[in-house]
């Protein structure tokens, strides 16, 4: 059984730039855990610096080049489609996560498409791989709950969702073999 780790933007921001020792620790932890880090395309874009020509992603490009970070190929998803007209589980999961996060929030409705892309990528990896476990990492409680709650709606239960609170604890607790390894809790 292979374990993939899906990582949200805040976790990378917490680590800082790749020049910090924390990124070296992360690379070592990924090797020791025998895993890969995955990010959805919207999160790759969120961390990209478009102020340079060509744009660069200071957090992810080195890891992508080395092969231990993987960016999911973007999917063409119709955000405006009515959810009951969608049959694809990945797209359905993204719509569900968007609705779920607005339901959890005590403030006005927002577009949660990037948050929802974490949940959708989990469902997508389950759809594409029969023998896979997934660990997600985020600093948002609502998103962490969505990651554990929505994939089972599609029959996928092999998921652990790590919530870093306070967010800055990810600096030390994320780049470790333990955090990237299935706990079987």
């Amino acid at each position: 059984m292979f374990t993939a780790n899906i990582v949200d933007t805040s976790i990378f921001r917490s680590l800082g730039k790749p020049s910090t020792p924390r990124f070296k620790s992360l690379k070592n932890a990924v090797n020791k855990a025998g895993t890969e880090l995955w990010v959805p395309a919207p999160i790759y874009r969120e961390l990209t610096d478009y102020g340079t020509d060509p744009p660069v992603n200071p957090y992810l490009d080195d890891g992508v080049e080395d092969g231990w970070i993987r960016v999911a190929i973007p999917l063409a998803v119709d955000r405006d489609a009515a959810i009951d007209s969608i049959t694809d589980p990945v797209t359905q999961a993204q719509h569900l996560a968007d609705t779920f996060l607005n339901q959890q929030s005590k403030y006005p409705v927002t577009n949660n498409w990037r948050d929802a892309s974490v949940v959708a990528l989990a469902v997508r990896l389950f759809e594409q791989n029969a023998r896979i476990r997934i660990i997600t990492h985020t600093a948002d409680d609502g998103l962490a709950r969505a990651c554990a709650q929505i994939p089972p709606e599609f029959g996928y239960y092999e998921i652990e969702s790590r919530y870093y609170n306070p967010p800055q604890t990810a600096k030390h607790n994320f780049p470790t073999k333990e955090s990237l390894t299935w706990s079987g809790k």
Binding site: T9, S10, R13, S14, E46, I83, D84, Q92, L96, T99, F100, L101, Q103, Q104, S105, K106, Y107, P108, T110, N111, N112, R114, D115, H137, A139, D140, D141, G142, L143, A144, R145, C147, A148, Q149, I150, P151, P152, E153, Y157, I159, E160, S161, R162, Y163, Y164, N165, P166, P167, Q168, T169, A170, H172, N173, F174, S179, S183, K185
Partner: protein, 207 residues
């Protein structure tokens, strides 16, 4: 007897004079003044020599700022006839309403301003995006610590970039000591969050 007029609430019972209004607004822009007020608020009974020892400004500035804060009614001397005099801070709320948007300036925001040198992001948000955005982001970040909103939702509602929002969030978690005391991440599994009687897919689809 307490009563209200167009401009004053709770008038009548020992009307207090409010002077030194510029000091209230200076609390939002002067981190040393904000730090002194916050130090007194957090340690009622602190004296001027104590403050000279603990705050990072000269003795002369400490006494000058104490005079300013006292004149504005933001601190008072505790009259116990000891020398040097102990001080305590008064809570306050400064409300501004502009184009229908109301913002409250409170000691909690002043405590954040006191850390502007340590966390430059605070000054950048306050100065580049304005007081309403600063106060709004502050409150939404406190909600984040209660699990009521995501970082991206804060960014959308306060019209800040994700990077700026995250940097401010880290600063405020440190300043207000927000979040769990246990620094290990919480791990949610389907067994923790899925209620077998609920059909989330149907429920959310119906909405």
């Amino acid at each position: 007897m307490s009563y209200e007029t167009e401009h004053v609430r709770n008038a009548g019972d020992g009307v207090q004079s409010i002077t030194g209004v510029p000091t209230f607004t200076e609390l939002l822009t002067n981190p040393a003044l904000a730090g002194l007020y916050t130090a007194i608020r957090r340690s009622p009974g602190v004296t001027a020599p104590d403050l000279v020892e603990t705050v990072n400004v000269s003795k002369k500035t400490v006494y000058e700022y104490l005079r300013k804060l006292k004149q504005a009614g933001l601190i008072t001397e505790i009259t116990d006839a000891t020398s040097p005099s102990p001080y305590e801070a008064e809570d306050f709320e400064l409300r501004l309403t502009i184009r229908g948007v109301e913002v409250s300036i409170t000691p909690e925001l002043v405590a954040v301003v006191a850390h502007v040198d340590e966390y430059p992001i605070i000054g950048r948000v306050r100065d580049d995006h304005g007081l309403v955005t600063f106060a709004l982001a502050h409150d939404l970040i406190k909600s984040h610590s209660e699990g009521e909103i995501t970082v991206r939702q804060i960014a959308t509602l306060s019209d800040l970039s994700h990077g700026t929002t995250y940097d401010l969030l880290e600063a405020l978690y440190e300043i207000h000591d927000l979040g769990d005391a246990d620094s290990n991440p919480t791990t949610y599994t389907p067994a923790d969050v899925v209620d077998e009687d609920d059909d989330l897919l149907t429920e959310l689809t119906d909405e």
